[in-house]
Symmetry: C2
Subunit: 132 residues, 2 copies
DNA sequence: TGTAGTGTATCACTATACTAGTACACTTCG
DNA sequence: CGAAGTGTACTAGTATAGTGATACACTACA
């Protein structure tokens, strides 16, 4: 695992790290049990503060993708493999959805809005299931 | 048009205003040519600074939904009606897409990630069309 | 057992997002 | 033409996000 950051993209460094780890897991570049590069190593290699790397790793831990072991390192969780497969399936479904949406000629921001609306919609629907 | 804000939602006030105007246009509550409430009126009614309302209205203007006329008011653009129809069509497509994705059991954040990935993907594909 | 290597914790700095205060300029219409 | 009502422009304060400096604590292994 080797990171490649774009400092002038406007995207926070820690988010770029998170994104790259997730991508590596989903493409199979990282497998369950694999050790991630050390916090210090990443910080030195990319010339940034260890805390920024920590922030990325802790977020990944919180999402259940990474396990941090005090004193020994950061590792890919065992459950990550299954997740990767599901995500690839989802990616395929989303692609065909966007292909159907493309002819409408919406901007990316409009598409985001439509997506968020629908997400909120189905969230609300899910809430109601257990109520009546 | 009457706004209803939630000050403790964490969502910036100006974004809430934008959202509500867009929603009103898409549902037909606001039609082409309709005048929006005055900047000052909104500011007074909702107990906030006029500048915050301005920010919302100017963003809506930038997106082509609203037209600001110096000295007379803010109005819904003529093009807004067509946009509303397209957005409703898109909403329907997005709904069926999310219904197909639901069985995979992804979290909302994971769905957002899948969506953004695919958006970037199709953006890249579009870039290549004119190149070779 | 001790040392090198690992993650952890606390505090601080800086840029940016958001909101606010206040004065200005244009339009309308009696 | 002038007064009331509208959007505009400029300046500034405050909260939060992002990043950094540095010291601490645990683990593995020779």
């Amino acid at each position: 695992m080797i990171f490649r950051l774009n400092p002038s993209s406007g995207i926070p460094l820690y988010l770029q790290l998170i994104e790259q780890v997730k991508h590596a897991v989903e493409t199979g570049a990282l497998h369950e049990g694999d050790q991630l590069p050390t916090i210090r190593k990443v910080a030195v290699d990319l010339v940034m503060n260890p805390n920024t790397v920590v922030r990325a790793y802790r977020e990944l831990e919180h999402e259940g993708i990474v396990e941090l072991k005090h004193g020994s390192g950061a590792f890919i969780r065992e459950s990550a493999g299954g997740r990767a497969r599901v995500m690839r399936k989802a990616q395929a479904l989303m692609q065909s959805a966007l292909e159907r949406l493309a002819p409408l000629g919406l901007t990316e921001d409009e598409l985001r809005r439509v997506f968020e609306n629908e997400l909120a919609q189905s969230r609300a629907a899910r809430q109601l299931e257990g109520k009546p």
